[in-house]
């Protein structure tokens, strides 16, 4: 590089500025069905396989040699034995299934939500949000409340749509739910910290703890004349 040449001076400055880029801490991963499918598929398959091995072992022992504890397992793993766990499993599930909920709506004071990460996508930003129920009794909350992006002054930077007829989800003490909130086209300069809030209806509003006290994450402004957009996935366990 020759510092006397204009091109090299520009390139030096380009290099210095580009080095100041801050890499998002977490590598992006596709969420939802597309991304989780293969991973959950493998984990699910592993769990099913493990359950089958246990069931086959247990039932095999019963069928092949009921009194012989030592031989319980492998030699009796016949197809007929593999078919039998279903009623056993459903009987256990039926016995332990909770009674129909008779609970009331969740009080936001008993819910602790926080943004655990921001992810980038073309023209938008996606907040990973985690929610923990701290109440002493189970309660109900909408699976898809109305999301909002709010800044440090409490100004609503993006207002989501109300999902008519959103199913209710029962939340027990200590339950952890997660969701993704996608925001795009924010054309105002926010006052930190930026965070997301959830309007759960009936003047019940849950504000998530921001990612950081000075976090000012907003998506790029793609159309100054158009409103900001925000949408969320249903809460899931």
């Amino acid at each position: 590089m020759d510092p006397n040449r204009k091109t090299d001076r520009i390139l030096d400055e380009w290099d210095a500025v580009a080095r100041m880029a801050r890499r998002p801490v977490r590598a992006p991963r596709r969420r939802g069905l597309a991304g989780l499918g293969s991973t959950l598929g493998l984990v699910g398959a592993a769990l099913v396989a493990a359950a089958l091995v246990v069931a086959v072992g247990w039932l095999g022992g019963r069928i092949a040699s009921p009194g012989d504890v030592g031989s319980r397992g492998s030699e009796s793993a016949s197809p007929s034995a593999v078919q039998t766990p279903t009623p056993v499993a459903s009987a256990v599930a039926a016995a332990s299934s909770p009674p129909a909920p008779t609970t009331g709506p969740c009080d936001p004071a008993n819910l602790a939500a926080r943004i655990t990460a921001w992810e980038g996508a073309a023209g938008s930003r996606i907040a990973d949000v985690s929610l923990t129920s701290t109440g002493e009794t189970p309660c109900l909350m909408p699976e898809t409340p109305r999301p909002q992006l709010v800044d440090g002054r409490g100004a609503v930077l993006a207002q989501g749509k109300i999902t008519a007829g959103s199913p209710m989800i029962e939340v027990a003490t200590g339950d952890v739910l997660t969701t993704l909130v996608e925001v795009s086209n924010v054309c105002v300069q926010p006052v930190p910290p930026v965070t997301v809030a959830f309007d759960m209806g009936g003047e019940r509003r849950l504000v998530a703890q921001p990612y950081g006290p000075t976090d000012a994450t907003v998506p790029p402004c793609n159309g100054p004349g158009r409103p900001a957009e925000i949408q969320m996935h249903p809460w899931s366990r």
């Binding site: 590089m1 500025v17 880029a21 992006p28 991963r29 596709r30 592993a46 793609n222």
Partner: protein
Amino acid sequence: MNEDVTTQVATADMTDFAYERAYDRHWSDVFRFALAWTNEWSAAEDLAQEAFLRLWDNRRRVDWDRPVLPWLLVATRRLATDRFRKLRRRLVAMPSAASATIDPAVHDRWLDVSAALAYLSPLERTALVMTALEGATYDEAAAALDTTAGALRAAVSRARTKLETA
């Protein structure tokens, strides 16, 4: 069957690890490539994230024994080209939005640099940055930019002339 599943889970862990390692090692390379191509800070951030999402989607098909950076750069260029086409189709004027992650002091410096480089085409800009700053050979840069080494050399020459006379 159980052994197969165990092998699959182990493979999944390995690809996750390889993916994380690629992110640690190459995010900066991908961001800088995208920045050179787009000359837009926030668009480069978006493209880098999208390129890694594409890598995530393809993590089971990628040959992790080979360098993954060329794959990432080609994916980034394709994403950038698609993005440009979409924007042109919609006739939406993109303001050069300041990224939320750029320091205000850096932002002002970036505006000056990007203005100086705005005279160049994406190919000229990226060819110049890759060969002059990133240490890429003409062949390596040409592969990432889907062109020939000769065309790349000409692009670098044009870029230098434009910047010197601007």
